[in-house]
């Protein structure tokens, strides 16, 4: 039935307020006192990374299934993700915001995952040989490879001189293959070489050819590293019963140490000492009864990576902490008798210098057939160019790798600083920046500051190459934990890599760390907060009461509609990752 009153009403009139017109005439934006600004920022992991990798951007791409794209982001800053994904000391994980929520993201395993599963032709988008200048790089360790890589991507002609028969420096001759399998290293170096780099192996500059012969190059980068193990005893070790850790690791087969009845003492608490002990264990097919590591530092102070120490102990390596060598005797019967004393170690945080202090009068004697000394490394300076300034056994440079000689730059362990692979790569990157600026007549300090990440020692090479970007990341601002809206995340345990069982791995010498399998890596990728990186989650769109957040479909970036945004700030509060912030409107 039609209700009687309704019958007398105009039937075309709606019974309630309905508008088929737009309400866009109400420009509510005039009420706004603050406006939202969408700015991608730096995540604390990227800020902590010596190489300055844009880690959350890579996690974002990987979360969309774009493993190749994620690997490309790593390769924009780091030529050696397969290496770093295995051996890096991962300061990124220590600073990870998720560590304040449950457990930090397993960033190192992620990097390894990308390098093992991604496919990137790094030549795509790189201006290979677009410039005529040539640059000589001396030494093909991580610093030299990094400088070569970034300069080659910038268009320069690179010639890489390597004294040894194979490239890689300490990556090949210092890091054991159970931590860094050689096929991985070869693959990474091959990718760097694909940028058209000339390599001259077995060529020691300063000996096989003179520095004068390098004059035709527009710049020279010296990254010869610290090739010699520091010796401890003034003894004739020509018989090979006292050798350095570096000598041993460079070719473990060479020293006839296979005999597991020979008592072998390793002195030192760094990675070289632990690597030597574990390599020797593998040489002896897992029989570690006569291998002892003598460490001056306490267990907590040991410079070796904690996970390496843990794995060594799992494998049955004996580690004695808090003892330093005191006196060496040639013994009777057994070749050596060593006195060692109680010790403490003081480390100067700035210079890295170590002082070993004897504590008390206690002396212990230890007999050994063989001794491996792994207490430090030094540079062979006899082949360096004439007149280059050297201080305390290191080449003197300014913060940008410039030496006392014109056109000559240096980096890596040869100039001091932290001795990790990532730091060497960072140092090579800095050299590449410095050389680019030198050749192009630009001020390197300005370039560095422009592309510096936060207040860290590193910068974004990709930003340096690309110049101003469509959707710039504010490299100066680091997202803190309190900027993360944790309501959008649920707690989930960190996915750690599988490891071979100690009994198995120490017999075979296979890679200890098996990585994280794809299903669990998917979980790990979804755990990442992606601090400061817009992830198209569109939570801001869902929450905006004025439907005033707009997406540029082509650029994939977001902005707000100034006509209607009332500046309520809900988007900024809702944003899970600190991308949106409110700034005052000019009055």
């Amino acid at each position: 039935m039609v209700p009687p009153n309704r019958a007398v009403l105009n039937k075309s009139e709606p019974l309630t307020a309905v508008s088929f017109d737009t309400s866009l005439i109400f420009k509510t934006g005039s009420q706004r006192a603050e406006r939202p600004v969408f700015v991608n920022k730096v995540a604390p992991c990227s800020h902590a990374c010596p190489i300055g990798i844009d880690i959350p951007a890579a996690f974002h791409r990987a979360s969309r299934g774009d493993i190749d794209g994620a690997l490309r982001i790593y390769l924009e800053e780091n030529p050696l993700p397969g290496v770093c994904g295995r051996v890096c000391y991962h300061p990124c994980e220590a600073e990870c915001n998720r560590g304040n929520f449950d457990e930090s993201i397993n960033t190192r395993s992620f990097e390894r995952f990308l390098s093992d599963r991604g496919q990137v032709d790094i030549r795509t988008g790189a201006a290979v040989h677009s410039r005529r200048e040539g640059i000589a790089i001396i030494g093909s360790g991580p610093a030299g490879l990094s400088a070569a890589y970034h300069l080659a991507r910038s268009g320069y002609h690179i010639t890489l001189f390597e004294a040894k028969s194979e490239p890689g420096g300490m990556l090949r001759y210092g890091i054991p293959s159970y931590r860094l399998p050689r096929p991985i290293l070869d693959r990474e170096i091959e990718r760097i070489h694909s940028l058209g780099i000339q390599t001259r192996l077995g060529a020691t500059v300063g000996k096989d050819l003179s520095f004068k012969e390098l004059e035709s190059f527009d710049a020279v980068f010296i990254s010869i590293g610290l090739q010699s193990g520091t010796t401890l005893f003034e003894t004739d070790s020509s018989e090979g019963d006292i050798l350095t850790g570096l000598d041993f690791l460079a070719d473990p087969q060479r020293w006839s140490l296979e005999d597991d009845t020979q008592k072998t003492l390793i002195i030192g608490g760094g990675n070289v000492a632990i690597d030597a002990a574990r390599s020797l264990l593998r040489l002896r097919k897992g029989k570690g009864g006569n291998i002892t590591v003598l460490v001056p530092e306490s267990r907590d102070q040991m410079p070796a990576l904690p996970e390496e120490v843990k794995e060594a102990l799992e494998e049955g390596v004996a580690i004695l902490n808090g003892w330093a060598p005191h006196r060496l005797h040639r013994g009777n019967g057994s070749p050596f008798s060593l006195d060692f004393c109680r010790a403490e170690v003081k480390r100067d945080e700035e210079s890295g210098a170590v002082e070993i202090i004897r504590v008390g009068e206690e002396i212990r004697k230890y007999t050994a057939d063989r001794i491996i000394v792994a207490i430090g490394q030094s540079m062979k300076s006899d082949n360096l160019p004439e007149g280059i300034e050297i201080r305390q056994g290191k080449i003197v440079t300014d913060p940008f790798g410039r030496t006392s000689l014109p056109k000559v730059f240096a980096g890596g362990d040869a100039i001091g600083g932290k001795a990790f692979v990532a730091d060497a790569i960072a140092s090579g990157k800095m050299g590449a920046l410095s050389i680019s600026c030198f050749i192009e007549g630009r001020d390197v300090e300005t370039a560095f500051e422009t592309h510096q990440i936060g207040n860290s020692q590193t910068f974004s090479f990709q930003h340096f190459i690309e110049g101003p970007q469509e959707n710039p990341v504010d490299l100066k601002r680091v997202v803190s934990f309190d900027q993360i809206n944790t309501l959008f995340f649920s707690r989930a345990a960190r996915n750690n890599p599988d490891e071979l069982e100690p009994e198995a791995r120490k017999k075979t010498g296979e890679e200890v760390n098996c990585g994280v399998d794809p299903a669990r890596m998917d979980e790990e990728i979804s755990r990442c907060f992606r601090c400061g990186t817009c992830s198209d989650c569109e939570i801001c769109l869902d929450f905006c009461p004025d439907i005033s957040i707009m997406r540029d479909a082509q650029l994939g970036i977001y902005s707000f509609d100034a006509d209607y945004c009332k500046g309520c700030g809900v988007c900024s509060v809702a944003c899970p990752r600190g991308v949106i912030e409110m700034v005052g409107e000019p009055r």
């Binding site: 039935m1 209700p3 009153n5 309704r6 009403l9 709606p14 309630t16 508008s19």
Partner: protein
């Protein structure tokens, strides 16, 4: 099919037979069994409606309004504090002309806390623009829920069907549950004249001018007036199809009644027993039970009461500082239409206290002894001295 049901389950059967498409509700004593029964059917896959779990009654009503605007039939149920929490949105619902059907189980309002029957919760919603039915038994609860959909969808206003806490909600009675096919013939699918449609975008309920607002208010009132006639037509049709009808008022033994009791809900069914007994004694008493409270059936009341000499009203509610709401409404309806008849307003049964046939007999006794309409409600029927009789 004849079933032995609580009033809550009778209401749930009524809702299910009406084939709503969206049900958004929040549990609250004494309404929860309605929600539970519907959820049970949903779990069995026989409900046919989308059950929405919401975080409050406010959200339940918001969800019902939005769903109804898309042109689907919607149902909800609540009680007491829950209805009070919905209050703001009750205005929205009638203002947006959405024909939601809501079962409210009358429960006293806190504080102090109490869970028993009282009408203040629903009567407080008097001016929200919702139709209000007060039912007297479980069968009427089921039938009225079904009728309410048809009335609401005809006049485009929402309806509250009021069951009394425990007296109806939890008491079991034999209830005739109609055949679904017959209900489908009685109640065709909801076809609103306008609805949210993504192919033809529109915005609803925006800011309007003062004069537009006034016009919408008058229109809503006219729809309420229409509802009087529509409710009667629908009830008549229902009686023809199912053999049960209730009218807007229940008139009980009014023929030659000198003293007429006016009341609502279960006090009305109790009063039948008391009146039968008094009639046995030869006393000329009768009753009008008000079933439809909004719109208020003034003309019907005037017609029903035109021969009465005295009127007694029993309210299970009290508007503080005034009197029982039904009494007040009745006086307003009678004023200057039937002059000179004294009206005695009794307030009994607050907080769910029992109103027995003996109480009702006492009410008739007092009314017959008194002459002038008192200025205050009579809240104590035991102390005749205080009443001056």
């Amino acid at each position: 099919m004849r079933m032995f049901l609580t009033g809550n389950h009778a209401a749930a059967y009524g809702a299910r037979l009406a084939r709503p498409q969206v049900i958004a509700a929040y549990p609250i004593t004494p309404q929860s069994p309605i929600y539970e029964k519907l959820s049970e059917w949903d779990g069995q896959g026989v409900l046919g409606a989308r059950m929405m779990r919401v975080e409050s009654e406010h959200s339940a009503m918001a969800a019902c309004i939005s769903a109804s605007l898309t042109g689907v039939r919607t149902f909800t149920a609540t009680a007491s504090q829950g209805l009070a929490l919905m209050h703001e949105l009750l205005h929205f619902a009638s203002g947006m002309r959405v024909p939601i059907v809501l079962v409210n189980v009358n429960r006293s309002m806190a504080g102090p806390w109490s869970f028993w029957s009282e009408q203040t919760d629903s009567l407080s919603q008097r001016d929200t623009g919702w139709l209000q039915f007060y039912v007297a038994d479980n069968q009427e609860a089921l039938d009225t829920v079904i009728q309410a959909f048809k009335i609401s969808e005809t006049v485009l206003l929402p309806t509250i069907v009021v069951l009394e806490a425990f007296y109806i909600s939890h008491f079991m009675e034999p209830v005739e549950v109609p055949d679904q096919r017959l209900i489908d013939e009685f109640l065709p699918p909801f076809e609103p004249p306008f609805k949210l449609d993504t192919d033809n975008p529109a915005s609803f309920c925006q800011v309007v001018s003062q004069s537009q607002y006034a016009e919408f208010r008058i229109q809503r009132h006219m729809a309420m007036e229409d509802a009087l006639e529509v409710a009667e037509v629908v009830d008549k049709e229902y009686r023809e199809r199912f053999g049960r009808g209730y009218g807007l008022l229940e008139c009980y033994r009014l023929e030659d009644a000198d003293t007429v009791l006016v009341t609502a809900a279960t006090i009305g069914s109790t009063a039948r027993v008391a009146i039968d007994a008094l009639r046995e004694e030869g006393r000329k008493v009768g009753m009008v039970r008000i079933r439809l409270f909004r719109p208020f059936p003034k003309a019907k009341l005037i017609e029903a009461l035109k021969h009465a000499k005295k009127i007694a009203v029993i309210d299970r509610n009290l508007s503080p500082g005034q009197e029982g709401v039904f009494c007040e409404e009745l006086k307003s309806a009678l004023y200057s239409r039937i002059n000179g008849i004294p009206v005695f307003g009794f307030v009994l049964g607050l907080g769910g206290t029992n109103v027995s046939p003996l109480h009702i007999k006492k009410v008739f006794d007092i009314a017959e002894k008194m002459n002038d309409t008192p200025l205050k409600p009579i809240v104590n029927i035991e102390d005749e001295d205080a009443l001056g009789i």
